[in-house]
Symmetry: C2
Subunit: 327 residues, 2 copies
Amino acid sequence: MHVMVIGAAGMIGRKLVERLAEEPVSLGREIARLTLVDVVEPPAPPVFSTISTPLSVDLSDEGSAERLVSSRPDVIFHLAAIVSGEAEADFDKGYRVNLDGTRALFEAIRREGQRERYVPRVLFASSIAVFGQPFPEKIDDAFFTTPLTSYGTQKAICELLLADYTRRGFFDGIGIRLPTICIRPGKPNKAASGFFSNILREPLSGQEAVLPVEENVRHWFASPRSAVGFFIHAARMDTSIIGPRRNLTMPGLSALVGEEIEALGRIAGQKAVSLIRREPDPVIREIVSGWATDFDARRARELGFTAESNFDEIIRIHIEDELGGRI
Amino acid sequence: MHVMVIGAAGMIGRKLVERLAEEPVSLGREIARLTLVDVVEPPAPPVFSTISTPLSVDLSDEGSAERLVSSRPDVIFHLAAIVSGEAEADFDKGYRVNLDGTRALFEAIRREGQRERYVPRVLFASSIAVFGQPFPEKIDDAFFTTPLTSYGTQKAICELLLADYTRRGFFDGIGIRLPTICIRPGKPNKAASGFFSNILREPLSGQEAVLPVEENVRHWFASPRSAVGFFIHAARMDTSIIGPRRNLTMPGLSALVGEEIEALGRIAGQKAVSLIRREPDPVIREIVSGWATDFDARRARELGFTAESNFDEIIRIHIEDELGGRI
């Protein structure tokens, strides 16, 4: 089986490739070829050194999608995107990368299939940013997509394209609406959502972290391990049971910032909790207040997608996967 | 005020221009200039002969949108599209005309505004084809768009673009999701939905018509007069009260084919009814069974959009507008 990961240098892309390296038959068949694509050349795990091809390619460049697809991968994970803040700041770039790049990929697959039958599995990273305020208390699977960012608009448009290309038989696609990933590994960043991870990750390593909102802020989470699991499940599942509604809100955990902190205390003690410094930031508070807080992700759960059910699990996964099992 | 109608040779386009001719201040200000655009040169009513410019332009041709927008119309009615059947039969043409053409228009407006402030009102003809089975009994304003045709997909994507371009201040847009227009004037055509109009229009003129489905088929209707009214209301309304959810399911009448026939009997007698020939067509029955039957169009009604509440009204409007008031 030939697997292609577009956006392989990103956080989820790297973790997905690591998981494939750890469990080489996790997609159901042996991986004979692995193509890793990103705008910077992505890393490949040693176990894949003989079968992997890292490529530095911008999907939105003329002809890039056709070149990638001409190698006829069986499974394509499409994780590449510019993030919400950048798509809002640079309108042209956001539409070029997030919409036109994705559409070019879909079109290249369709045209490849016109030459000779070709119907790959396509897994597309979408986002709960396709939804916009006001929300019901829990957002169900039939709630409409009225994004309030250009990023969310671009994701919602690609979801529609994915469903139509799938319905017409050009590929076999699933759109994966990811929760906010927590605990995000790495350094604190400037993303408005960064603090959800910072207030756990930093204290777990003995570092201070800033909490810019109140403890009663609710949000929607899944671990990086769950995110990778969503894509692997989507890549190997029986898609005939999905029907034409191919974009799925993934399961997640709806939790308060206060519950994050309580779980931190249970697992790492009050000393860790005391490393959280409260610095209310009205700008971040305002941004976060526009985000969805809870979903009834029934369809995805019924289709076998799973995520964490409490923050203790999310923290333990971080300790296992990022801290070698010890704090 | 400079008004542009794109798709001015189509049924709604022609009726819209006729209405503007009858009520020259229906948009709130006097029309000083009228640009009528379609792939074939559209007709202009005599009253507008000195101020109207008919143009034969395909919006999806390179540079067309820029040329149209460079005249900086204050109000743009965008009604141009290829129909559902054609968009399904010709994938490339459907996306080129219905998606790329519309996006080119929106982009041209944005770029014109980068040269010098320009925020026109844009009224976009969308469709209930943005929805796909299975449906709740009544589709409310928060139901998701999961189209089951490429046409519906293209309309849903353009709705998302319209909302984002409006949110960013590039224009002031409203997407108008039209019910099935009934009674459609003209000759019977091959559209699967044609019989809804045929079984009234033809008997009203003493002609036979074929009914290919059972009388218990329910569907969602508005008259051509209401459709024009939606666009005129949208062009002159205060948009500040709409908020960012700019795509509106228009009000309509949910009715059975049997109710159409009863209304025909009341208005034109049993002789007219006897001109309906029942010829069940399983193919048409199957297509129609995938269509939405009822909506709770609360938001549009609250925003002042109105439609008919029974089929007697719909038939009387046809008699007044198409048959000179007599049958």
